[in-house]
């Protein structure tokens, strides 16, 4: 029986299994495996273990994600899109109501505020001009004078009775 050129090295064997060895190392390991039953056995165990793990993973994923998963997502997205599209006319009508309100509500409120403002506020007292403006004067009198004080413009009516 021909003897293996290399010693058994589990680390190198794992790297061989994971295809992480350089080409020259890989060639040496291939040659070693040809003559080493224990390494052959270890490699087979690795392969079977890996196969088992991969199968289990595939099975779990296929159970977790059903076959129609993609179809269901797409159909949900389509439904949502159609709902959004159906909302657009409603939103448009709401905006048109808002626009109409803007047309009438804002001017009406502005008018109401102006009316309130002028109702509650009094015009400032005018300091210019007489305290009283005499619009008319009639009577059975001899004479009448209308005076105004120089400082505060107080109006004075001075008349002489005939009797």
């Amino acid at each position: 029986m021909k003897k293996s050129r290399r010693k058994c090295d589990p680390i190198l064997l794992n790297k061989f299994f994971d295809k992480e060895l350089r080409p020259d190392e890989r060639a040496q390991m291939t040659e070693h495996l040809r003559d080493c039953p224990s390494c052959q056995k270890a490699l087979q165990e690795n392969e079977s273990l890996s196969a088992l793990f991969t199968d289990s993973l595939d099975k779990s994923v296929s159970q977790a994600i059903p076959d129609d998963f993609e179809y269901r997502i797409i159909s949900k997205l389509e439904t949502r899109n159609s709902k959004l599209e159906s909302l657009i006319p409603i939103l448009n009508s709401q905006f048109s109501i808002l626009n109409s309100l803007k047309k009438f509500f804002i001017p009406a409120m502005a008018t109401a505020i102006l009316i309130l403002f002028f109702s509650f506020t009094k015009p400032p007292a005018s300091v210019a001009g007489p305290s009283a403006i005499v619009s008319s004067f009639t009577g059975d009198i001899a004479s009448v004078m209308i005076l105004e004080t120089p400082e505060s413009h107080q109006t004075i009516i001075w008349f002489n009775e005939t009797f």
């Binding site: 009406a108 109702s119 015009p123 403006i133 005499v134 009516i157 009775e161």
Partner: protein, 151 residues
């Protein structure tokens, strides 16, 4: 339809607010009127302390040395209502607020003596403001009627 409802509600509330807010209202404000009867003469030197502000004004126009407050009539008169102030020698002053023009009260003043009308005048008096009407001879001096108003 909804918009029409909004407009109707808004219009009615504006009208309501205007009604509540309008202090002048349809009936108009009540006018507070004070009539002070003053005897001005040159018989003595006297300045009634109750007339200090008025005397300062009158002294800039008249040369009387004595100003004495004879009586004071306070009244609150509604629009188009007539208030009366009794004055010396059976005189009566009737005061009728007839309107508001800006910051002025439009007043009709009628002076009667023994039920005979001496004069009638319409004035627009500042709010607040006063006018002095004078001229009748009385007890060696002259009567002055200082009429002030506010609303």
């Amino acid at each position: 339809m909804r918009l029409r409802k909004y407009i109707i509600v808004l219009f009615l509330s504006s009208v309501l607010m205007m009604g509540l807010a309008d202090p002048l209202g349809a009936a108009g404000p009540k006018i507070n009127i004070v009539v002070k009867t003053v005897l001005a003469s040159q018989n003595a030197k006297f300045a009634d302390p109750r007339l200090s502000d008025l005397i300062k004004e009158l002294q800039s126009v008249f040369k009387y040395s004595s100003y004495r407050l004879l009586s004071q009539n306070n009244m609150t008169v509604g629009m188009k209502k007539t208030g009366r102030a009794s004055l010396p020698e059976n005189r009566v002053l009737k005061i009728t607020p007839i309107g508001i023009r800006g910051n002025r009260t439009e007043l009709r003043l009628e002076l009667f003596k023994k039920n005979r009308q001496i004069f009638q005048t319409v004035i627009q008096l500042l709010n607040p403001g006063a006018i002095t009407v004078g001229g009748p001879k009385y007890k060696g001096g002259y009567l002055l009627f200082n009429i002030s108003n506010s609303f």
